[in-house]
């Protein structure tokens, strides 16, 4: 391309500032919309991932459905419900039977727990009673004081670890919490530690929380329960989750005499499979957003196409004048290609900038995360559309005989 046609193109752009501005704006909006849309989709899928990871990694949760569900009819009375007992938990903690399990912690959830401290009163969103491994298994930690220990469990110690929200509900800001005694449903517990802030999993505040030894809970709050509704299990690694799940089912089913073809009364929630499910969900979500982005690209592309078509049609007479004073077809084409390239480049780059700026803001509750592929995609498509519809009609106009182009109104 000669510097002359570049100069002629620059002059053409400068001579039609409004039209050039509209073209740039059309491309800008198309590119920015695609980048922001994909960033919103990407951001929400990242957020879902985060929340699921907050539930704990390598974690499996065993639920007791109480009895074996539908399926094969069993002879004998089925009225006697199946319970998870201490011996079952001990079996799950047996390294020879369950090599892929690091620890299994029985969990009693104390319903409707109310905490009081010197006149202040608050319900505790989740009050769990478990053992020393629970915090670690559920990816929680203590950053003030200490956690529940095995000694606490064996000694039936009335101690409690509180979440930050519960602490701020009960205590004045800045007061020393560890060592204070609070009442849970009228029973005294000594605060030994405060859980490190955990945030929300989307549905509930993970800091509105209390943890006590399950032995103490049985003594004071729930009574000696017949069995545990839940056992949380930590697998050896995230890859060992499926193996751990199989071991849990085998151990519990054989201990309770449930045949392999009967439906197990024990339901195991596998964090890994949950993550996989959410991954699939967010993949679907990304596909959906991709479709939305494709449509907005199409719409943006049509916008670019329209303005380019109108521009060139409107300039057919100008093309005629240029040909009449001796412009060869190649020079006309070079001018229009250069103009289209410059405009789409400016629009595309400005669109990327606008997309970046737009992605800094929270959009409908989602922090957008820019996906790398969206930038070349949006930029490439708008560039291609802008060029094609800038060049194709220009080529047609440049091929007209000058007299026909001149007569064009």
């Amino acid at each position: 391309m000669s510097p002359d046609s570049f100069q002629i193109a620059l002059r053409g752009i400068a001579a039609n500032k409004l039209r050039s501005g509209l073209t740039v704006l059309g491309i800008l909006i198309g590119v920015a919309a695609v980048i922001v849309l994909i960033a919103v989709g990407n951001g929400s899928s990242v957020a879902i991932q985060d929340r699921i990871e907050k539930l704990g990694t390598n974690t499996l949760t065993v639920f007791n459905r109480g009895r074996s569900g539908g399926g094969a009819q069993r002879t004998g009375t089925q009225s006697q419900s199946i319970q998870i007992k201490d011996a079952d938990v001990a079996a799950l903690n047996d390294k020879t039977q369950a090599p892929d399990i690091v620890s299994a912690s029985p969990v009693i959830t104390v319903a409707n727990a109310t905490a009081t401290y010197s006149g202040a009163s608050a319900t505790v969103g989740t009050l769990d009673a478990s053992d020393a491994n629970y915090l670690d298994t559920t990816d929680r930690s203590v950053d003030v004081g200490r956690a529940i220990t095995t000694d606490d469990v064996t000694n039936h110690a009335r101690v409690i670890v509180l979440g930050r929200t519960t602490v701020s509900n009960l205590f004045a800001p800045g007061s020393n919490v560890v060592g204070e005694t609070i009442q849970i449903n009228g029973k005294s517990f000594q605060v030994v530690g405060v859980q490190a802030a955990k945030g929300t999993n989307g549905a509930q505040d993970l800091d509105d929380f209390g943890l006590i030894p399950y032995t103490a809970a049985q003594d004071t709050l729930t009574g000696k329960t017949q069995g545990y509704q839940q056992v949380v299990v930590q697998a050896k690694s995230s890859g060992a989750e499926d193996a751990a799940q199989a071991e849990i089912v085998t151990i519990l089913d054989s201990r309770h005499g449930i045949s392999a073809d009967a439906t197990s009364p024990f339901m195991v929630l596998n964090q890994g499979s949950l993550l996989q499910t959410s991954q699939d969900t967010s993949d679907t979500f990304t596909v959906l957003l991709g479709a939305v982005a494709a449509i907005s690209l199409l719409v943006g592309g049509i916008g670019v196409m329209n303005i380019m078509l109108v521009t060139v049609t409107e300039r057919t007479r100008e093309i005629g004048i240029r040909k009449a004073i001796g412009a060869p077809k190649t020079a006309i084409l070079a001018q229009f290609i250069t103009e289209a390239v410059i405009l789409t480049l400016i629009g595309g780059l400005a669109g990327i900038a606008a997309g970046f700026i737009g992605s800094q803001f929270k959009i409908v509750g989602v922090d957008p995360v820019i996906a790398g592929y969206s930038i070349p995609l949006a930029f490439g498509v708008s560039l291609a559309v802008g060029l094609f519809f800038g060049i194709y009609p220009a080529n047609r106009a440049a091929s007209l005989r000058p007299i026909d182009a001149l007569r064009h109104e």
């Binding site: 100069q7 001579a15 100008e318 040909k323 001796g326 005989r401 007299i403």
Partner: protein, 243 residues
């Protein structure tokens, strides 16, 4: 330029327009020779084919049959890019409706043919300024077409036609959109250009405009019906008001 040839030689040129199943014979066989330094006015009623003839002379359109030699070269033998070069270097076209590039300054309009000829930027600007000076518009170089009067726009168009020093200047009713004072002004300018040795072809239907030329060719129904030489050397046209 080879001076032996006439600037323009037409032999049996016809032009037929096909519109649907109707064909209109705009030119029915034109033989015309224009010598170097001629100032030829082509006259005729509307529909006589004079504009068609002008477009063919200006290489904006091609004849259906017949031969057109420009500076001794048969235009039919040229390909598209060669014709573009001919339009650029050998012909300066002045239109009735001026046809300046909109939103582009006068000097940039005048420079444009030089840009297509590949002349360097500085030389281009110099030559454009010289051409603007010849038409008396040096002080309006940076003005946009919309900031100029019709007569001034036509003078810019003439400067643009001159700037490549073409062998031939073709003017298609250059005064058609101008008032009588501006018309006289433009004709004065064309006459003086002719005096400097430029060959000029002019289309008009106004008798006094045609009087400025040294030779009047009359067209009727696509044929030349008269070809009169008024005087060997046309006088400098006096600025007379058209009736």
């Amino acid at each position: 330029m080879d001076g032996d040839h006439p600037v323009i030689e037409l032999h049996g040129v016809t032009k037929t327009y096909e519109t649907g199943n109707l064909s209109v014979r705009a030119l029915q066989g034109i033989d015309l020779m224009i010598e170097r330094g001629d100032f030829v006015a082509i006259m005729g009623a509307s529909g006589s084919g004079k504009s068609t003839l002008m477009n063919i002379l200006g290489c904006l359109d091609v004849p259906t049959t017949g031969r057109y030699l420009l500076d001794g070269i048969d235009v039919r033998t040229l390909d598209e890019s060669q014709i573009a070069r001919v339009r650029n270097r050998r012909i300066g076209f002045v239109f009735q409706s001026f046809n300046l590039i909109p939103r582009t300054s006068a000097v940039a309009n005048v420079e444009l043919p030089l840009a297509y000829a590949g002349v360097k930027r500085r030389e281009r600007r110099e030559r454009a300024n010289v051409a603007l000076e010849m038409v008396g518009l040096s002080d309006r170089a940076e003005h946009l077409p919309t900031e100029l009067s019709g007569g001034q726009q036509q003078r810019v168009a003439i400067a643009r036609a001159l700037v490549t020093s073409p062998a031939l200047i073709l003017a298609d009713e250059p005064t058609g959109n101008l008032d009588s004072v501006a018309s006289a002004d433009i004709m004065h300018l064309l006459s003086s250009l002719n005096r400097e040795g430029r060959t000029i072809g002019l289309i008009t239907h106004e008798r006094d405009v045609a009087q400025c030329a040294g030779r009047i060719v009359r067209l009727s129904d696509g044929l030349i019906v008269a070809d009169d030489r008024l005087h060997a050397s046309p006088p400098l046209a006096a600025p007379v008001a058209a009736s």
